[in-house]
């Protein structure tokens, strides 16, 4: 207490204050809304359970059918590999876009322009029929001797065509997300790292990109989930082992389209849920130091000791020791 403070009521200072217990405002509208929503859910639930046309027995038969599970596997392989290709390319494209080298900037821009500007379905059709365009892949000196030649159809199989087609198309979208992420990092970070004598590439990898990831991860998660569903377009290649194609085939074979659509939907929903869990942990990792910062431990040594003792004692970040110099 400072000396100039006006004197507070002496009794009130140490005595426990009487806490306010106010009557809360009532919200009848909320209750009405809840009742309506509950009724709607009940009606929907009842129809799903009782409507024979859903054929839940067929759904159960095919949910873990070997072909369906293999289809899930292929869909996952397509999603993961094409996203890996897309992410690697996107980082490269985003760095190139920020380069001092004008050629790199133009190449990056043109790539994004082309792959974003044409339909992914068309691109998949193209990769599927690339063997018609170039029956052989010849490795050698341009206009000079050829060293060896490969059959395009053996190199670019339908699987490769599907992955490359999806990956290249996605890289254009991701490049823009990565570019936005890199731009979101304060310019002072680059300057501080430069002033420490760090080289540009090191600054990008160790300082800028880890911070940009905070901005990059949520839309990239979005894109990954989008990709999961976009893999159903690989029939354009034609690639015929993914979840949508398999369930469609089973549907026409059994004349039961609805339950097999439900099978596909259930699997997509399940994979999406798993991906969302993964995204949560990735976001948490890159949010270190910025998002949800835990209150600062008062003494680092004490915090370390507490951590070793397995005692997650909350500490108060507001108590800080000011410099004693």
């Amino acid at each position: 207490m400072s000396r100039t403070a006006t004197s507070a009521p002496a009794a009130g200072r140490d005595a426990e204050p009487e806490l306010i217990r106010a009557v809360p405002v009532r919200h009848p509208g909320r209750w009405a809304g809840a009742v309506i929503i509950f009724l709607a859910l009940a009606i929907a639930g009842q129809s799903v359970v009782t409507n024979q046309n859903f054929h839940w027995d067929v759904f159960r038969t095919y949910l873990f059918d070997v072909l369906v599970v293999q289809g899930v596997g292929w869909t996952l392989i397509l999603t993961v590999t094409s996203m890996i290709i897309a992410i690697v390319l996107a980082i490269l494209l985003a760095f190139m876009r920020q380069s001092d080298n004008p050629l790199f900037r133009y190449v990056s821009w043109t790539w994004v322009w082309f792959f974003r500007g044409t339909p992914v379905y068309t691109q998949l059709l193209f990769w599927g029929s690339v063997a018609v365009l170039y029956p052989q892949i010849v490795v050698g000196v341009p206009f000079g001797p050829a060293w060896f030649a490969l059959d395009t159809q053996k190199v670019i199989t339908y699987t490769v065509a599907a992955i490359v087609g999806l990956g290249l198309n996605e890289s254009a979208y991701l490049a823009e997300i990565f570019r936005a992420g890199l731009k979101s990092v304060d310019t002072g970070q680059m300057e501080a790292a430069e002033a420490l004598g760090m080289r540009r590439s090191k600054i990008m990898w160790r300082i800028i990109l880890p911070q940009a990831m905070r901005v990059i991860v949520p839309p990239t998660g979005n894109e990954t989930i989008g990709m999961l569903k976009t893999t159903s377009l690989v029939l354009a290649v034609p690639f015929t082992l993914d979840l949508t194609f398999v369930t469609n085939t089973l549907a026409s074979r059994t004349f039961q389209p609805i339950p097999l659509l439900m099978v596909a939907a259930a699997w997509y929903l399940f994979i999406t849920s798993v991906l969302m869990v993964g995204q949560y942990y990735i976001e948490r990792h890159f949010g270190k130091g910025v998002d949800n910062v835990t209150k600062a431990p008062v003494k680092a040594t004490a915090a370390v000791a507490a951590a070793h003792a397995g005692d997650p004692k909350p500490t108060d970040g507001n108590t800080e020791t000011t410099g004693k110099l």
């Binding site: 970070q189 501080a192 760090m198 431990p297 370390v304 410099g323």
Partner: protein, 267 residues
């Protein structure tokens, strides 16, 4: 950077200039920001630059470690030209590797601290020594803890910048710059973004650093610091050096009208 160098610097004799700034001009497009700056800073000297905003003082400081490139003139540190090498009377740009090598010798502290928010105080400090100088993590860590103790933040090694006050962040930033063992430290308005009550802690660290013999160029509005710690005071306005000399004399008895006006407003 010894005590004798410090004393010699104060006597203004014997010691070679560490930093030479000669005829430096800087244009931002049409905007002529620096209009012929000449300055020398001796080893161990604390050179304080003051002036109104827009006077070019921060730009000058940023030119010394190549965050800006100069349009004309020369800046050299220990007789080594900054940013260029001279071959047969022609200047050649240094490549990125050479520029990085020059910057390693020059520490910089920013107005906005610019700590890496995704790294703890300790990891902010050991980043450059381990990544640039290839020091072992253990050795860098030992040195970092020493530096944190020096700036009074031993207990905050594992804090993220967002868990530190502005003054604490700035002291970590000073420690981070010192971890590279620079021979020159640049301070760009290091206390301007701080709450008034936190300014003192940062200035105290800078005072200790000056006493240890570090060569420092300090752009600041802290006239008290200039008077107490500065060996020379330079007043800049409109991209030129208006007045330069002993801080106590200039503050007590400014010779130029513009210096008088500026000091009357900040004191």
């Amino acid at each position: 950077m010894t005590e004798t160098a410090k004393q010699a610097a104060q006597q203004g004799t014997l010691v070679q200039p560490l930093v030479r700034i000669e005829g430096v001009h800087k244009y931002f497009g049409e905007h002529h920001v620096l209009r012929g700056i000449d300055m020398t800073i001796k080893e161990g000297e604390v050179s304080v630059i003051i002036g109104p905003s827009g006077s070019g003082k921060s730009t000058l400081l940023r030119c010394v470690n190549l965050l800006e490139t100069i349009s004309a003139g020369r800046i050299s540190v220990r007789d080594e030209l900054i940013g260029y090498r001279e071959v047969n009377g022609r200047l050649h740009d240094l490549n990125a590797k050479q520029i990085a090598a020059q910057r390693r010798e020059i520490g910089m502290v920013f107005q906005r601290f610019n700590l890496f928010p995704h790294k703890t105080a300790l990891y902010n400090i050991i980043e450059a020594p381990t990544q640039v100088k290839r020091q072992s993590k253990a050795a860098a860590r030992v040195r970092a803890l020493e530096l944190l103790e020096m700036v009074g933040l031993s207990d905050h090694a594992n804090h993220y910048p967002s868990q530190l006050s502005g003054g604490q962040q700035q002291r970590v930033a000073i420690a981070r710059a010192l971890a590279m063992e620079p021979e020159l430290m640049l301070f760009d308005e290091p206390t301007s973004a701080l709450d008034p009550e936190l300014v003192g802690d940062v200035l105290n660290v800078m005072k200790d650093l000056a006493k240890s013999g570090m060569t420092m160029i300090v752009v600041t509005h802290e006239i008290g610091f200039a008077r107490e710690v500065g060996d020379t005071l330079t007043f800049m306005d409109g991209g030129v050096v208006v007045e330069s000399g002993n801080p106590r004399e200039i503050i007590a008895n400014p010779q130029h009208r513009r210096t008088k006006e500026f000091l009357s407003r900040v004191l």
